[in-house]
């Protein structure tokens, strides 16, 4: 009876460690919010969700390329090629205001537009926007014409010139097709964050926030309501899913 009423040491320790772990996951900020829950594997994606990203340029450290390295590792963008034709799904860009001299460092990736010009020009339907707003290339039907690369105002896409080997099972890539950031779609479908966001958080910058911008209760929606954010090339009215804060 005594044993039942007073929790054993093991149980106490367990509760303590759980509390600590929970505290840790809350403290870095990004882990608990953003994605509410994983979609069941057999369920199709829905347009009720729109995945988006908010990048805080004031937190994005100059010279840090954790997001780029994470992307390269995640998708195996390591083939030997010329610098001109290197596949870049995400890159760091430095901006300097000529008038004031202010400098910004920010990651550039596919902006996952609501009205993506790449899908408009694609002759085969290989460039498409998924119901949840993620813009993808179906490389099964991509013929490598590269119209989408010319249409994209953000230069977000890459063409693969070389025969590739040892691709990652979750990220198939091959010669003669166009590819770009896919928001790590296989991770998102499992309720996880894109690799770049995870890496940025792990490095303690927390400059990238990923989540459902259609859900008013998601962390990204709440932050978008509070802060001033802008899109790149708003004149084109593409309504990108990637927004920048502090530009």
């Amino acid at each position: 009876m005594n044993e039942e009423t007073s929790p054993s040491n093991d149980r106490r320790d367990f509760l303590k460690t759980t509390a600590v772990v929970a505290g840790l996951t809350v403290a870095p900020g990004m882990l608990l919010y953003g994605i509410s829950e994983a979609k069941p594997d057999e369920k199709a994606v829905s347009s009720k969700i729109r995945w988006g990203m908010l990048i805080d340029t004031s937190k994005c450290a100059d010279g840090c390329d954790a997001c780029v390295n994470a992307c390269v590792n995640e998708h195996g963008l390591t083939e030997e090629t010329t610098p001109e034709t290197k596949a870049q799904w995400i890159r760091k860009v430095g901006l300097r205001d000529k008038q004031t001299g202010t400098v910004h460092s920010l990651p550039m990736l596919c902006q996952h537009c609501e009205f993506p010009p790449c899908t408009d020009v694609c002759p085969t339907g290989a460039s498409f926007k998924r119901a949840d707003g993620i813009v993808l290339v179906d490389r099964h039907i991509c013929i490598g014409c590269r119209y989408c690369m010319m249409a994209c105002p953000y230069k977000a896409r890459s063409f693969i010139h070389e025969t590739l080997e040892n691709q990652k099972p979750h990220s198939p890539r091959g010669k003669g097709t166009v590819e770009s950031c896919n928001f790590c779609v296989y991770r998102v479908d499992k309720g996880k964050q894109p690799a770049c966001v995870e890496a940025c958080n792990q490095d303690g910058h927390q400059a990238m926030l990923f989540g459902d911008i259609n859900d008013p209760n998601s962390e990204i929606s709440k932050k978008l309501k509070q802060v001033n954010s802008s899109v790149l090339r708003p004149d084109m009215r593409l309504n990108p899913g990637v927004r920048y804060q502090g530009l």
């Binding site: 979609k39 594997d41 057999e42 369920k43 199709a44 994606v45 498409f128 998924r130 119901a131 949840d132 993808l136 179906d138 490389r139 099964h140 025969t163 590739l164 040892n166 691709q167 990652k168 099972p169 979750h170 198939p172 890539r173 091959g174 010669k175 097709t177 779609v185 296989y186 479908d189 499992k190």
Partner: protein, 135 residues
């Protein structure tokens, strides 16, 4: 009588030729050996070896894979029954030294073993991984 004899000789020759043909059909010449795909790592269930009955999956796996790829690519459906990654994870096995067979050399790779024999080229592995991901 002479004619009959001639005919019977001719018949014997014909029979001989037919027999030799039959033998060669049953035992293929050494240049074309029957495919011997490596064994999978595990059975799909207690009652079923693969994700569909063997005769069904042998004939229709191409259609199943193609259907599933569109479901995954466009709708984000990520069930594993007909996923190529799941096929590779179970069917492509390492040798005793831990090396996986090369898809471009020989016919030891599970997919290549039959596709070589049937002379059907596959494009899957221009892009897709040919072996399970090693941790």
């Amino acid at each position: 009588m002479k004619v009959c004899l001639k005919l019977s000789i001719l018949g014997n020759i014909c029979l001989g030729v037919l027999l030799s043909l039959a033998v060669s059909a049953a035992e293929p010449s050494s240049s074309v050996t029957l495919p011997k795909p490596p064994k999978a790592k595990q059975n799909f269930s207690d009652t079923q070896k693969c994700v569909a009955p063997i005769e069904d999956i042998r004939r229709n796996h191409g259609d199943y894979l193609k259907h599933h790829r569109n479901e995954t690519m466009h709708k984000g459906i990520r069930t594993t029954q007909y996923s190529l990654v799941a096929c590779i994870n179970c069917h492509v096995t390492a040798d005793s030294k831990g090396n996986y067979p090369n898809i471009n050399e020989g016919s030891k790779h599970f997919c290549k073993s039959c596709h070589n024999y049937a002379a059907v080229s596959i494009d899957c592995f221009e892009c897709h991984a040919t072996k399970p991901e090693t941790p």
